[in-house]
Each structure stands twice: as C-alpha cells, then as structure tokens.
Symmetry: C2
Subunit: 196 residues, 2 copies
C-alpha cells in the first residue's frame, strides 16, 4: 500500500472517535446524549434541505463539506458546552492544536484542503461558513423544542444566553428566525428557559 | 410559518430518529454498537477523502449527498444485518414504503429530489451510486479490522460471505482492494473469520 492511501485510511479510522464525543443535548426521545458525529450528519443534511433559505447565494455542496468537518477537532479538544462556564478561555488554542494534529494525518495537500475548510468555518465570513454556523445553532434549538427544553432547564440557561447564541440565524436564515423566536417564547412560558 | 418551511422542519426533526437505529458493528473502542446516522456521516466523509480512488470519474458532491441519505429508510425499515438470516426477503418492499413515507414529509418537489437520490443508490448504476455502495461496504471492514473482527466472530461469518459482500470494492475502488484482501486474510489467520 502506498503512503498516500495509508495516510488516508489512518484518517478514516481516526474519524470513528468523533462518535464518542458527547454533546450536552439529548436525542428527541430523551434516550441519551447526542454525539458530535451524528450531530454533524444532521447539520450536513440540514444544509441540503434548507439551502434555499440562506439570505446570500451559496454553493450548497461546499456548505455540506464544511458541515461534515465542522466538529472534527473535538476528537482531541472535546465538546465545549455553549452555556457552560468552563472551556471557553483556551477553546481556540485547543482546537487549533487539534486541527493541526488531526488533519495532519492526511497527505499534505489534502491536509491543507481540510484545514482550510475548518478555518473557513471558524472565520465565519463566507456565505457557506455563516450558513453552517447558523445551522449549527438551529439544530440544537430544534432538539430542545422536541425535548421540552430539558437541557436548558437542567443547566438554568436564560433566554438572553440563548438569544446571544442563536443571533446569527436572524441574518443568515431570516425565514427561520420567527420559528426560533417562537420556540424560545414557548420555552420561557413553560419555564424551561429562565426569562432574563 | 409557511407550509413549505413547516414540512422541511418536520423532515429535519424526523432525521433525529436515525440516531437510534442500531447496526451490528461496534465502534473501534468496542464501547457500543454503531448507529446508522453516525455511520452515514462516516461514509460521507470517506467520499470526500477517497474520491480520487474511484475507477470512474465522478461528481464527489453528488456522492456525498447520496451518502447522507443512503440509510434514511432505516428510520422505518430498520437495519438489515448483511450476514443475518432474516429481513432480506421483504427488505426492498419495506424500504420502498419507508422512502415514500419519509421523503413524502418534504415539499413535493424536494421529496422527488431526495427520493431520486435514494433510488439512484439502489439502482447502483451511476459512478456516484457505485462509489457510495463500495464505501458502505468498506467502512465496516475497517471497523472490523480495528475491533479484531469481534462481530464476524460472534456471528460465525465466513470469508466467502464477506467476499461476496465486499466484491464491488474490487471494480469501484481498485487501489483499495488489496487492503481489503489483506484485512480478510488476517481475520482468517486470527480465527475471527471462518475460512469457507
């Protein structure tokens, strides 16, 4: 086997580990926490389904590629809970180190391509990166709706915390914004989300 | 909210269920069985990484889209174990019914697009469909390698059964074929795979 293929297969084997990185969200049937691999699949498919709602024209297939790799760094760096008190200070540094190590498993020129996808997401400037960032914030809101906001409730999350988190949806997916607002309003009403 | 967006979000919520469809394979750390959502993510990323090995020229982004939806019908039809004795007789009929119900949640023209992706995979004729079918067979072989073939061992799977299952890899991903042959040879040698 040539070295190039060997590195590609090492990377493919490495991917398996993302299935064991647990997020704080629960599946809609409340059976367990969601992991970052299945979350990434969900976001990638949302990109296919919801592309027409993006405010800016975009290359959907490029957004899908970004969605597929968007959480890969968590294999080394772990998932940082959006509403948690810890892990945010050195998140960027941990994830940058993880990206270098993980994409570096690939052949050099492919490593550069994949690293570029992840840096594009982090920079949050291109239409595709902003679209995936918005979907990445929308997906858990839909899960929270299906689970009666149990995770928000457990962690004492406030409406203003969630609003700050989901704000990109307003500009990037304007037709989705009233849906998000309604979900948050319902969650405040039911007591799942603290109104402050 | 308009009806079109409502149907799209219903579909997005429905997707969550694929995370609870369990396959027979174990994760590489043996901690649990793999589910079909994270498997689909793995196959979609493999399409991005391994596209250059396809014997026929293909549109990689189209293969990724097929990979993302390739197991969706299992939400209703369940996963059918490749080496199991049951479930194969009415598999096609169960899955066709599932596809009609599931993609039918989407707006009509989008339902047709997604159904067409799945039918393309099932027909196994286009370069993209054949590529995804081959990756879908390669992915578990790599997991079996990482787990010492524990699932093959448990189910008394034979070398000839696996050979029949992975045969498409030979034509579609010729540079991968020697890798697969070596994994199977090693598995026979270790006793994980019965030599018949």
């Amino acid at each position: 086997m040539n070295d190039r293929l060997g590195r590609q297969l090492d990377f493919v084997r490495e991917l398996d580990k993302l299935k064991s990185v647990m997020r704080k969200n629960r599946l809609s049937d409340l059976s367990r926490l969601e992991n970052s691999a299945e979350h990434s699949w969900h976001v990638a498919l949302m990109a296919l389904v919801l592309a027409e709602h993006a405010a800016l024209p975009l290359r959907c297939e490029h957004a899908v590629a970004i969605a597929l790799v968007h959480d890969l760094v968590e294999i080394d760096a772990g998932d940082t809970f959006a509403y948690g008190a810890t892990g945010h200070a050195d998140k960027r540094e941990r994830e940058e180190r993880a990206a270098t190590r993980l994409f570096g498993v690939l052949p050099a020129e492919q490593a550069r391509q994949f690293l570029a996808l992840w840096h594009e997401l982090e920079a949050d400037e291109t239409p595709e990166a902003r679209f995936v960032q918005a979907l990445d914030r929308l997906q858990p809101v839909l899960l929270h709706q299906l689970t009666g906001g149990v995770v928000w409730r457990e962690h004492g999350v406030t409406r203003s915390q969630v609003m700050a988190r989901v704000a990109p949806i307003r500009d990037v997916l304007p037709t989705l914004w009233p849906v998000v607002e309604q979900i948050l309003a319902d969650a405040v009403k039911s007591g799942a989300l603290r109104d402050s």
